[in-house]
Amino acid sequence: MNRTGSIRTLGAFGVLAAVVRRDLLLALRRKSEVFTTLFFFVIVVSLFPLGIGPELGLLRKIAPGVLWVAALLATMLSLNRMFAADYADGTLEQMVLSPTPLGLMVAGKILAHWLVSGLPLVLIAPILGLQFDLAPRALVVLVISLLLGTPLLSMIGAIGAALTLGVRGGGVLVSLLTLPLYIPALIFGAGAVEADISGLGAGGHLSLLAALFALAVFFAPWATTAALKIALE
């Protein structure tokens, strides 16, 4: 077969786009996937009133914490599928062997993960907030905090997901590794909403969250790449 001439090679961003496209396609194909992280989030949030009882006053107090913990758990649950399938079926080897820098492909995978698992949570959170009787302004702060926080969770999670590859039974191990790292995001995220509710102003918390976000953008793809290479050695 003619293997010269007609073949175009892809630039770095072409590969990035291909990675994002592929992961989104996979998520759509496993039809349920997009919706299930979301439903998980919704169900977990609904479990708390069932466990704690229906007093609205009490529920309003714990709402920011519950919503953020649920977002964190939902993100974490979906981490497994970030690299595990690629690792098991040999795609990851192919990625490492690709001429495109691995960091870029990792960034693509993180982006796709956020689009599939993070963004829907941000969009549904206000409705759940209503169930806990949060005020409209608190809802806005909630959405902003999640908008900054969920990509952060995806980025930190990627490191954990990469580190636990091939470590069998890694499904739970990944939570062990990432949950502690998630704690700052949880404190500032839930803190922002609480601060707003109690009239203290959410600005400080939100800017700290933004700072964490910026830090992670630089740090996470690098660490993830390193972890992936180690997993394959």
Partner: protein, 205 residues
Amino acid sequence: MLTAIDLACIRGDRRLFAGLGFTLGPGERLHVTGENGSGKTSLLRMLCGLSPPEEGEVRWTGVAIASLGDEYRQAVLYLGHHNALKEELTALENLLTTSALAGVALGDAEGCEALRRVGLAGREDLPVRFLSQGQKRRVALARLLWSPAPLWVLDEPYVALDAAAVGWLAEIIGAHIAGGGMAVLTSHQEVAIEGGVAQTLRLAA
């Protein structure tokens, strides 16, 4: 040109091989043979740069591959025991994305053409999960048809293929080598490949 110098491989407490060396130039192929567990897969992964050698060095055009990075990765196509297929994606989607990962932009038409050539016409849009073992292997092999990589590293490419498929695969490899390519392969089956110069490397268990 691929050169292996004084390679050694240790797995657990076993020294699989040591002092292994060879040179592979354009138009040549290297058959790595040996019993089960003699270290063929381990060697091939070393040649690709997937695992670092215990001792020795692999060089590409005279330079150690560790320092070449992307440039070397562009030159290698590796097919391992695993097929690197996503069971939920269709055969065509799988082919296009593995090619994209290797930096090759295939269109739908080229993808379909390649699948047709590996005997999967009419199954382009079937999720790979439904394919038979041999058909899965064919999807993985379809990558060879459009690959611009000069060096092919193929670990047991014939596994699960029926006799006809083994035949055309041997032809494809032969054509690649005849066109100035290189190939390192392992196989427990005896398959004759036409064209090019053949070297054989036997790993003792």
